[in-house]
């Protein structure tokens, strides 16, 4: 069995309800990832995606369950897990360089100014913001701010990138460029990436596996869609791939109809053993996890999802 790098084990999040009881955003949620994998979570607004990401980041505590990263239960935030926030979360009183340098000095306390600056600068260059180092966030466009957020996250050379709808506020053109950059950087540096998105095409372009989440309250991860597209896919010929529309339709169908009715339709859903949807042929093939494991060798991008 493939070694699990991240393992979310039976987490729940409950908030006090209006009538004194508890409202569970989700219960008993399981998810695992192998090293170097890129996954996307798709689900409707309010289903609990950010909550899962915050728990994984250590910013929020689950009401139940644990998160294990690299063999250890997490106990709070870590410099190994960088977060790219939905709202970029730049410190407005610092310049671009100041924002990135803040992360760098947080990781390497003993570095002198020149070294911090050089390191920060190299990541600013990487995201294509050379020349804007001394601008303040208020002087940047939305896309540029998001780039600073990416540079800041990457500058601490994390092992895991957690991204909460990082591009949702951007126009299509900027989004495309940043998707390319993130994909390139993740592939180059072997990042393990967890990304939340609303954009089906973004998920298909970036993810190795797509996790579909049903509507809350009491949301569940319904199934995992394996991405049949080759690793070296390009953003522009994506839609020419023979399986592209099959994957896309499957995900869209889920979002449009099945995300609401899932709980009623599949009462015997096992959250530890999610069904894996493998679109290997133009017609849909839905395999259970155990079947998927037997076939694993056939697939180029194989997940480490299956578990006993």
């Amino acid at each position: 069995m493939t070694e699990k790098f991240i393992s979310i084990e039976g987490i729940a999040k409950r908030y006090p309800g209006a009538d004194g009881g508890k409202i569970a955003v989700f219960e008993n949620l399981w998810l695992s990832m192998v090293r170097g994998e890129f996954i996307c979570v798709i689900g409707h607004s309010g289903c609990g995606k950010t909550t899962v990401l915050n728990i994984l980041a250590g910013l929020d505590e689950p009401s139940d369950g644990t998160v294990i990263v690299d063999g250890q239960a997490i106990g709070g935030t870590s410099l190994d897990r960088a977060v790219i926030f939905q709202s970029h979360a730049l410190l407005p009183w610092r310049t671009v360089l100041g924002n990135v340098a803040y992360a760098v000095t947080s990781k390497w306390r003993s570095w002198d100014r020149a070294r911090v600056k050089a390191h920060a600068q190299s990541f600013i260059d990487l995201v294509g913001l050379t020349g804007a180092e001394h601008k303040r966030p208020s002087e940047l466009s939305g896309g540029m701010k998001q780039r600073v957020g990416i540079a800041r996250a990457l500058s601490i050379t994390p092992k895991i990138m957690l991204m909460d709808e990082p591009f949702s506020a951007l126009d299509a053109l900027t989004r495309g460029t940043l998707q390319d950059e993130v994909r390139r950087i993740c592939l180059e540096t072997g990042q393990t990436a967890f990304m939340i998105t609303h954009d089906v095409d973004e998920a298909i372009y970036l993810a190795d596996r797509i996790f579909l989440m049903t509507n809350g309250p009491g949301a569940v991860l319904a199934e995992i869609v394996e991405n049949p597209l080759p690793k070296d896919r390009g953003r522009f010929d994506l839609h020419r791939h023979p399986l592209y529309y099959a994957v896309r339709n499957h995900v869209v169908d889920f979002l449009v109809s099945r995300s609401k009715s899932f709980a009623a339709e599949v009462p015997a859903h096992d959250p530890r053993n999610l069904p894996v949807v493998r679109i290997g042929r133009p017609d849909l093939v839905i395999a259970s996890v155990s079947e998927a494991m037997h076939e694993e060798s056939k697939q180029p991008s194989c997940p480490g999802q299956a578990q006993a």
Partner: protein, 280 residues
């Protein structure tokens, strides 16, 4: 272009208003009362008001002349009841400065604590709610009794009146720092102390400075009253003393200077506020 012309036009209106005010003032105090007929000795005793029909209220030219006199030698010292205006203002500013500084040193750390800890915030709330509305001058007898020094008592009163706006604004600013900025620091494993200085302080600084600006205004309001009570020195005492001397001219000059100094103090704090402000 439009802003400069607007500013220019506003300046013209200001000057016109000022001239109108001076003109009306001059007319009102010109002296219209009938002149009584009396013997020269008696007239000497009665003074200009009775003998020349002059108004008891000084006119703008009287005040101007007197002001010029004061400005020429602001720092003379002819004993306890006759000091230059510069010296009197100096005393007041020093008292305000000391009391205010003490208040800053107490209010900002305490405000941080209240803003960061819901427990301390709730625990201190009843005390603050009761202490805040007490007029600072009500503390004066107690301060005089316990401290036994009028100068220090005045400083204490300044301290107590300027501490509340700073305390509340600091607590409010600290508690209201955007969660996402705190989360940035948390994901970077920044320790509590460093987080306080690198994230919370800069984020809350505009709110804190607003509190400090309110405080300096209140402190300057209160010092005049406090010095009237404790006596001895200071611009407040000067006003009271000149009132007892029936020198309305000096009283008017003091009022003018109190206004100008108050404005300058406010401008200084406004500049600091602008320095820490950040556009979002």
């Amino acid at each position: 272009m439009t802003t400069t012309s607007l500013r220019f036009r506003a300046a013209i209106v200001s000057v016109a208003l000022f001239l109108a005010f001076i003109g009306i003032w001059h007319l009102a105090t010109r002296g219209t009362a009938s002149v009584a007929i009396m013997s020269p000795e008696y007239a000497k005793l009665m003074g200009a008001t009775a003998t020349q029909g002059k108004s008891a209220m000084p006119g703008p030219s009287d005040v101007g002349a007197k002001l010029w006199e004061h400005l020429k030698r602001p720092f003379y010292d002819n004993g306890p009841n006759d000091k230059g205006l510069g010296i009197q203002l100096g005393y007041s500013i020093a008292r305000v400065g000391l009391g205010y500084l003490l208040a800053v040193m107490v209010a900002i750390p305490l405000g941080f604590l209240i803003g960061m800890s819901p427990l301390i915030s709730k625990a201190l709330d009843p005390f603050i709610q009761v202490l805040k509305p007490i007029s600072p001058l009500a503390w004066m007898p107690l301060a005089l009794y316990t401290i036994k020094d009028s100068g220090i008592s005045a400083i204490f009163v300044i301290f107590i009146c300027s501490v509340w706006p700073m305390l509340l604004n600091t607590a409010f600013g600290v508690a209201g720092v955007r969660k996402e900025w705190i989360n940035v620091a948390r994901t970077l494993e920044v320790g509590t102390l460093r987080r306080a200085f690198t994230v919370i302080l800069p984020a809350a600084a505009p709110t804190i400075l607003t509190g400090m600006r309110i405080s300096i205004g209140i402190a300057w309001l209160v010092i005049v009253a406090a010095e009237m009570l404790v006596g001895g020195t200071g611009i407040g005492y000067f006003v009271w003393n000149e009132w007892n001397n029936l020198s309305i001219t000096n009283v008017i000059i003091a009022i003018l200077l109190i206004g100008v100094v108050g404005m300058l103090l406010d401008q200084v704090l406004a500049r600091f506020t602008r320095m820490v402000a950040f556009p979002e």
